[in-house]
């Protein structure tokens, strides 16, 4: 019997309640103290199509999803047909026996037919509860505690009244009972809640970021919806009154970024979020924020392009876009988290950096990280402090002065900034090149001084950031280099390689501007075999590393399929190349 180590999939068409079923199944396991991680794949449509949600569960911390499936829960025939071949030896499939009166499986896969639709109609509140019957059935087959599910149903449907709650209970119980009565002891996997289960959040990257943003003092969000960033708009809007944040769904992305620039210019911390296409519309204003030295936070939850591309899939195609967007060169920070904890920490940090260094901060997430739910400990907020930098209030200003030299040069490049509305602080900010007071000035000494001053802030910022460090053993056979959400799959691939006595470590790059050239060169200079892992076509980080350090990483595992890396995929790629003369890896 395999206890507490399972990969589960629920599939069906859009509109069958897959997302809520997947979420609820993950939630009931999370509440039992188990570690879960979810992954959803779906096309860009509202009804129909083939969709699935995966939940991987373990009693040990998990860092990534897997493509292996031990138990499939098929809400339609298509799911059965599409996934039967993926099921591991000894695994099983739960399906509606009415769909397949004479279902044929394959060797080593257990078939668990159950009249799902009929039970939903006769025992529950109708066909709409088929997904509830299905989850009840999964819990019954896995011998898990149904009460966790009932509790979740009560929380979800409680406001709709007892009748709805009870019919959901009945649907869940019917699924559970059917499996217990017909298949008890016939499946080699089970799940058991941990004793003294620790309370953890089950949280997505976008939500983790939003909590960091709220903690970071974000007071205004202007956004135009775009998958997969819209959940940031939704989260912030939902909690806007609780936390006194103004959230505006504005007319387009151009308006979104300019609105937050206006807000930041009068001294508030503000945010916009989008995906690559929406960011492309914002590009001009990035330069404005850099020129007038106004800090804003821009989130790009990446998806594959070009153009509309794969709207609901994942990837890391926009690193270079974010680094170079807008004419000429202007200061900015480009940062990418690798997991929900980093979404929170770097999300909080983004607002401090924007405010203190008076620069736009580009926060690069991706669809997988943004939507995948994970068991995460409560965020530690003890060390988090708001730093507003050189912000001047009336007490810091001379009220007799008509104007303030707001763009005066300084050794660190950061000028003191009066809060608009304070006496003695008047200045003009302008997208034109300007002098200390913000007057338009085109003379050469001033141009050079101001350009140098703005760009110098990046060096100052670099000194304030933690340098990248290797995760894993020093002097390893393989050094992985990557950024963003592949982090989790790489960490698990390192464990898989260790079982084969191949040692590997991992250099995660979180900051691209500023870039820690010296530290990266030092680490990679000592590496025996460097493998770059990226979800884009060319290996944008690898090329950046070459540009900044001169180190050419030839071996690149690049996946631009729109689906997230799995640990096994990375492991297999590395094993394939082991012992071979190094050559540029063919994109997988």
């Amino acid at each position: 019997m395999i206890t507490n180590n399972l990969s589960w999939l629920i599939g069906g068409e859009a509109g069958q309640g897959l997302e809520s079923a997947g979420h609820m199944f993950a939630l009931v396991l999370n509440r039992g103290g188990l570690f879960v991680i979810t992954n959803a794949e779906y096309p860009s449509l509202i009804r129909g199509g083939h969709n699935y949600n995966k939940v991987r569960v373990s009693d040990k911390p998990l860092t990534c999803h897997t493509n292996d499936v031990d138990l499939v829960c098929a809400l339609n025939k298509e799911t059965f047909e599409k996934h039967i071949d993926e099921i591991s030896n000894g695994g099983g499939i739960i399906y509606d026996s009415a769909d397949f009166p004479d279902a044929k499986g394959k060797d080593g896969v257990n078939l668990f037919g159950i009249p799902m639709a009929e039970l939903a109609k006769t025992k529950g509140g109708g066909i709409i509860m088929k997904n509830v019957v299905a989850i009840g059935a999964c819990i019954g087959l896995l011998d898990y505690d149904l009460n966790y599910f009932k509790e979740a149903l009560k929380q979800t449907f409680g406001r709709k009244g007892d009748e709805i709650v009870n019919s959901n209970y009945n649907a869940a119980q019917a699924g559970y009972d059917y499996m217990q009565e017909n298949y008890k002891g016939k499946f080699g996997y089970n799940l058991a809640a941990m004793k003294d289960a620790k309370q953890r959040m089950l949280i997505q990257g976008n939500d983790a970021f939003c909590i960091g943003a709220i903690k970071g003092g974000c007071k205004l969000v202007a956004e135009y919806p775009m998958t997969p960033s819209s959940s940031i708009l939704h989260f912030m809007a939902e909690h806007s009154r609780e936390y006194n944040v103004v959230v505006k769904h504005v007319e387009d992305e151009i308006s979104a970024i300019n609105t937050i620039i206006g807000a930041s210019a009068v001294g508030i911390r503000s945010l916009t979020a989008t995906s690559g296409g929406g960011f492309s519309l914002m590009v001009e204003a990035v330069g404005l924020a850099g020129m007038i030295e106004t800090g804003i936070v821009i989130v790009n939850v990446q998806r594959p392009g070009p153009s509309t591309g794969l709207p609901t899939r994942t990837g890391h195609p926009d690193l270079r876009l974010m680094m170079h967007a807008s004419q000429d060169e202007s200061p900015r920070m480009v940062v990418a988290p690798g997991d929900p904890e980093e979404c929170f920490d770097l999300g909080f940090q983004a607002f401090n950096v924007a405010d203190k260094y008076q620069i736009p901060v580009m926060f690069l997430s991706d669809k997988y990280l943004s939507e995948s739910e994970r068991s995460v400990d409560f965020f530690d907020t003890k060390e988090l402090e708001i730093d507003r930098g050189k912000l001047l209030l009336e007490k810091d200003l001379d009220p007799k002065e008509d104007r303030y030299p707001r763009y005066k040069d300084s050794p660190d490049g950061i000028s003191a900034r009066p809060l608009a509305g304070e006496k003695g602080g008047i200045f003009t900010c302008t997208s034109d090149e300007h002098n200390d007071y913000g007057d338009i000035v085109e003379d050469i000494p001033n141009r050079l001084e101001k350009m140098n001053k703005r760009m110098r802030k990046i060096d100052t910022l670099r000194k304030g950031l933690p340098a990248p460090k290797l995760i894993g053993p020093a002097n390893a056979d393989i050094t992985f280099v990557s950024w963003g959400s592949p982090k989790g799959s790489i960490l698990e691939a390192i464990e898989l390689l260790a079982k084969d006595d191949v040692s590997a470590n991992f250099l995660q790059i979180k900051y691209f501007i500023p870039f820690h050239s010296e530290e990266v060169a030092k680490i990679l200079g000592k590496a025996k075999r460097i493998v770059d892992v990226e979800e884009n076509f060319s290996g944008q980080l690898a090329d950046l590393i070459r540009e900044k350090t001169g180190i050419f990483i030839e071996e690149r595992i690049l996946d631009y399929s729109g689906r997230p890396f799995t640990a096994k995929q990375i492991y297999n790629e590395v094993k394939l190349k082991t012992g071979q003369a190094s050559s540029k890896t063919v994109p997988v």
Binding site: I211, N244, E284
Partner: protein, 288 residues
């Protein structure tokens, strides 16, 4: 007419507009209006787009923001939401507001945020040296339309009426006293105020000159029978053109402003709210 007090809104730097430009009159009207309203320079936030007139934020002594072509309205909106205790005024040209920025123009009007938007409407692109603008008359020959403009011009007043602006007016740069009055009314108005301003461009527009306007403009509000709360009457007036060009307040109504619709802003402006002690425990607990 009230006597003009010493204008503390005078800037250190001086305008670089062409001699005789209508913008001088507009700039003077703005400074006089701000002064007569008794506003303090540090409580005024003056946002402008890009264009000849948009340089005005450098030449009025107040917190100023000279931004991007067509984007001043979202920026002014953000500034007002960030600190609604500031008097936010915004100015751009006809290319800025009715061309590249027309989407923001319409949406800002329906939002009814409490700010004044002035459009120096010279029916030509000045700073790029003489191309047709969205308000250039049909047939007008310019550098970009050597055979004459073929499009029908934008009617900003009618557009504003349709888009839900709550204060809609037109001024003339050649009548500073009247324009100053409009600006004062526009600032006092609670909600979005539009003042479209006929502004002669002495360099590039040889048709819509001072003389052209002086012969045609008449004051709408001199007519005691004209009611500014009548949308239909305003719409009809907005259609007038050719030899008779009405200036004054076309339409005004009271409607809930954005700042009142957001309870987050009721207690105090966002900028003065504490951000150092935000408790996220309740948020985290929602995910358990």
């Amino acid at each position: 007419m009230a006597s003009i007090k010493k204008a503390s809104f005078d800037s250190v730097a001086k305008p670089d507009w062409c001699p005789g430009c209508g913008l001088f009159g507009i700039q003077m009207a703005i400074k006089q209006a701000l002064t007569e309203l008794g506003l303090e320079p540090h409580k005024v936030f003056f946002v402008t787009g890009i264009g000849c007139g948009s340089k005005a934020s450098h030449w009025v002594n107040a917190y100023g923001m000279h931004t991007l072509h067509g984007r001043s309205l979202p920026i002014a909106t953000g500034a007002k939401l960030g600190n609604h205790s500031l008097t936010v005024i915004d100015m751009g040209g006809d290319g800025d507001g009715y061309g590249i920025g027309i989407g923001h123009f319409m949406h800002t009007m329906r939002r009814n945020i409490d700010l004044l938007y002035m459009v120096n409407d010279n029916q030509i692109y000045g700073l790029t040296k003489g191309q047709a603008s969205p308000t250039s008359e049909k047939g007008m020959k310019t550098k970009s339309t050597p055979f004459g403009v073929v499009e029908t011009p934008i009617n900003p007043i009618a557009l504003a009426i349709n888009s839900g602006a709550t204060f809609i007016a037109r001024g003339f740069a050649g009548d500073i006293v009247h324009l100053k009055w409009l600006i004062m009314e526009g600032i006092k108005h609670k909600g979005f105020s539009l003042i479209d301003i006929f502004q002669p461009c002495v360099t590039f527009n040889k048709i819509n000159t001072y003389a052209y306007f002086q012969q045609r403009v008449y004051k709408l509000n001199d007519d005691p029978n004209y009611k500014t709360n009548d949308r239909e009457a305003a719409w009809k007036k907005a259609q007038e053109g050719g030899d008779k060009l009405p200036i004054g307040i076309f339409y005004q109504e009271t409607r809930e402003i954005e700042e009142e619709a957001e309870p987050q802003l009721l207690k105090q402006p966002l900028v003065y709210q504490d951000i150092k002690n935000v408790n996220i425990e309740p948020l985290m607990k929602k995910f358990v």
